[in-house]
Each structure stands twice: as structure tokens, then as C-alpha cells.
Amino acid sequence: MNVMITGAAGGLGRAIAVECGSRGYDLFLTDIAPNGLESIELGIKRQFGVNVITHACDLTHASAVDIMLADIDRMGLAFDMLINVAGIDFEGGFLTQDREASVKIISLNDAATLRITHAMLGRRNKVRFTVVFVSSLASMFPMPLKAEYAASKPFLLDFATALRQELKADSVNVLTLCPAGMETTPKATKKIAAQGFWGDVTTNALESVARRTVDRALRGRTLYVPGVFNRLLAGLGRLVPRSLAAAVVYRRRSDAQRRWMNTEE
């Protein structure tokens, strides 16, 4: 089984790469960080002895993606699964953000994801193909102080649901993963700690999210919201008026943000 993973050198992408490696899948990993890719390639080869190919690439540049695709075509690879993990978030109020950083969130999380998905669907194994989109629990409600990110995620959720319908007849399954926070970096750990109780109950265990995402995608599921409490929040997001949800989230986030910014060394 050939699996392509984007954003494979960091947090969730890396954990999913390890999970797939442990299942004996062959991997094509891409990320913007060449050093990180080199490390994970070596680590997975050592632990599981599977084939790993890496290609560092900035997915927001169409020309860079074309070079990567040419590489893939030269090797004559066809894929059985695509896991779109690459994504970015810069937190803070819209006006405190750098303008281009805000735009970058959308160009990577949404535009680049479409680019790579289109390319990989054209290079899929015709028997059966699986696509995973990493959306977020943030796709369920507007999130002030994380506005661009939270707006980029429902795009993926809606797109995935529609794409699934389009490609059902072609044996393509599409799963959307909507996780809450995960302890992927020391910074993430700090932010989760700053949220106190709410941070603890919403945080998902990285290793089980990685495992269950692959499980569910292969079983043909549509949506995976990890954690009972998060499923409850997701349901609530559909019932509560959008402006009320935004007000509640704003209150909680501005407190937490103040706290974790104060603890920064």
C-alpha cells in the first residue's frame, strides 16, 4: 500500500507517518522542512523497514508541486491513500496579524490542499483509494482570535463531504478528521495547559487519533471527531446560534491567550 502524507515532518503528520509505517505501508512524505523529513525517513526505515521516499516541497507554490509530481511520475508511483495534514495557524486578532501571514493560512490549508488532492486523485490506484482531510473541531463554530484558521477548516469539511459523493462510484472514500488540540509541540503543550480544565477535556491523544484515523478511513467512514466531549461540542455547534458561539469562544480564548502569553519565556 502506497500512502502519501503531507506535513509529515511535524506533529500529527509525523504520528500518522509512524502509524502507517508500523502497519507496513510504503510512504511518500512531503513537508516544507527538509531536515525534519530526513529525520523521520531514517526513523521510520529503522523502526519498520518499509520504503520511504521524501520530497521537501512548499505546497503553496504550484511550480514546486509540479516538480514533485514530475518526480513521482518518473518513479511511476500510484497511490492507495492520501493524507492531507499540512496546515498552518498563526493565532491572534486579525488586525494584529501580519497581512500575508493571514493569507498564507488560507493558501496552505485550503488552496494547497486542493492542489495536492487533485494531483493525487490523478495518480491513484484505480481499485480503491482513500483521502483523509484534516479539518478541525474549529470547523464547527467561528473562533475569534483564530478566525482565519477556523474559517479555513469548514471549507475542508464541506469540500470533503461533496467530493466523497462525487467519487463514490469510483471506489474513492473520503474521511474528514476533526480533532481538537493535541500535544504536538512544546508550544501546544503550553497552550493546552493555559486553558486549564477545558484544555484537558478537549485535548486528544496523538497516538490514538493517528491510529483511529487510518482505521476509520480504511473502513470507509466519513467523519471522525475524536473524543466524546468533542463530539458533544460539535453537536452543540450545530444548535447554538453562530454569534453566540463566537461570543463564548472569544471569552474563553482571550483569557487563555493572555495566560499562555504571560508564561512564555
Binding site: G21, E38, S39, E183, T189, A193, A205, L206
Partner: protein
């Protein structure tokens, strides 16, 4: 002058060991994760190496730098390597290489660094591992060493410390005839910052345990003893089971 390298040397046990050995006349080098960390340490004449030992790429780089430095100052010989750097995590987190972080830092980093410095140590050198008595009652989970199936932070910690002890034994089995001796030290419960950054339940529990710990200068004596004593004395120490 005998040369000693201490990892995790900017706080807790590592810093006190560095301080004590420096006072006792060793040429000391410390490995720190960040450059800022080194500046906090008020021990004179320390040669610092900066690297995040959780990442194997960094371990290799630091090992190259140490080997080059040893070539300059001590004809390529290292008297003691103290693999002390360690961490505690509340949840499953991975390193750049995709290893679980506690396993990677507490065990694999020391393993790789020792492996890379082995030629410098095979002249009567010593390797000291910061282990822990918490390894008791734990086994190595061979089918899932990184504990991805069911992650329990304390199990991961204990297992990494058990591996440290097994590593010290393994080194003795293989290299004691070539003059290298390895020791695992149980520092006891020490008041250090190891659990402070982990967050969640681990941080919570550690906040209660920590005040009951001894000052880090107490276990530092054990490291000094293991560095100063002559080999035959150490053998008798081991038999009588002297502990710090």
C-alpha cells in the same frame, strides 16, 4: 586533568554534578538544549555544547563536536560520560525521528552518544547513566516499545530508565575487558524541574512529589564517588550495595 562530559547540565542533578566535578578538579563539559540555558549556570570554565539530544541528528552533531574538542584538549580521551539528560511527558509526543520523546531522550540519546564517543572511552573510561529505582516491576514492552497502543506516561518513563540500566549492564558485558565500566545511578527522589513543563496530570502529581525530594547536590555526591573511586573499590561498593 581528567575530562568529563555531562548531558542535561543546565539544571537539576546535571548542574550539581557539573559544579561538584569542576570543584574537584575535572575538566568539565556540559551539553545543553539551548544556548540560554548555559548562561544560567554559574560554574566557571565549562566547555558547552548546545544540542537538542532528543533529535538523533543533533546527538550526532554534538558527538562530532565533542570528539573534535577531545582531540584538542585531552588527546582524544574521555574519562567519564554522564548520560543524565532526561524528560517527563504527560502525553505521547514524538521526536523528529518519530520516536516517543521520553524513550528518545532518556534512553536512545544516551545510547547513541555513548556509541559515538566509545573510542574515546575505551581507555579506562566510565559511563554513568541517570537511572531510577522506579524501573522495578516494569518490563520492556517489546511489541510496542514506544507505547503507541496504550500510552501511560509513567510506564514510558520507567521503561526508559529500565533500558538505561540494561544498557549499563550491556556495556559492562561487552567492554569491561577493554577498560570501560558503566554504572547506573539511582538518585532517589530529587527536587528538580523534570515534571514542571509536562503539563496535565504528570505536572500535578510532580508538584506534590517534588517538595519531598532532596536537593540535587545530594545525588551529585554519588556521581562524584563513581568518578573518583578506583575500579577495585567500586567493585566492592557494588557488592555491599552502597547507595547515596
Amino acid at each position: 586533568m581528567k575530562t568529563v562530559v555531562v548531558t542535561g547540565a543546565t539544571s537539576g542533578i546535571g548542574m550539581e554534578v557539573l559544579r561538584l566535578l569542576s570543584r574537584e578538579g575535572y575538566r568539565v563539559a556540559g551539553v545543553s538544549r539551548t544556548a540560554e540555558g548555559c548562561e544560567r549556570v554559574d560554574v566557571p570554565d565549562v566547555k558547552w555544547f548546545v544540542g537538542d539530544l532528543m533529535q538523533q541528528r543533533e546527538v550526532n552533531r554534538v558527538a562530532d563536536e565533542i570528539n573534535a574538542w577531545l582531540g584538542e584538549v585531552s588527546a582524544g580521551k574521555l574519562y567519564a560520560l554522564i548520560n543524565n539528560a532526561g524528560c517527563a511527558r504527560n502525553r505521547y509526543t514524538t521526536t523528529e525521528d518519530g520516536y516517543e520523546q521520553q524513550f528518545a531522550l532518556n534512553y536512545l540519546a544516551g545510547f547513541l552518544l555513548t556509541h559515538r564517543l566509545l573510542p574515546a572511552l575505551l581507555h579506562g573510561g566510565r559511563v554513568l547513566m541517570t537511572a531510577s529505582r522506579s524501573h522495578m516491576g516494569i518490563k520492556v514492552h517489546w511489541n510496542d516499545v514506544m507505547l503507541r497502543r496504550r500510552y501511560n506516561p509513567l510506564t514510558a518513563y520507567k521503561q526508559s530508565k529500565l533500558c538505561d540500566i540494561l544498557f549499563a549492564k550491556g556495556l559492562n558485558d561487552r567492554y569491561s575487558e577493554e577498560g570501560l565500566r558503566a554504572y547506573a545511578v539511582d538518585p532517589g527522589l530529587v527536587n528538580t524541574a523534570i515534571g514542571d513543563k509536562s503539563g496535565g496530570i504528570v505536572k500535578f502529581v510532580w508538584s506534590f512529589r517534588k517538595p519531598h525530594g532532596t536537593d540535587a547536590s545530594v545525588p551529585a555526591e554519588t556521581y562524584s564517588l563513581l568518578c573518583n573511586a578506583k575500579q577495585p573499590e567500586l567493585l566492592s561498593l557494588r557488592r555491599t550495595g552502597v547507595q547515596s
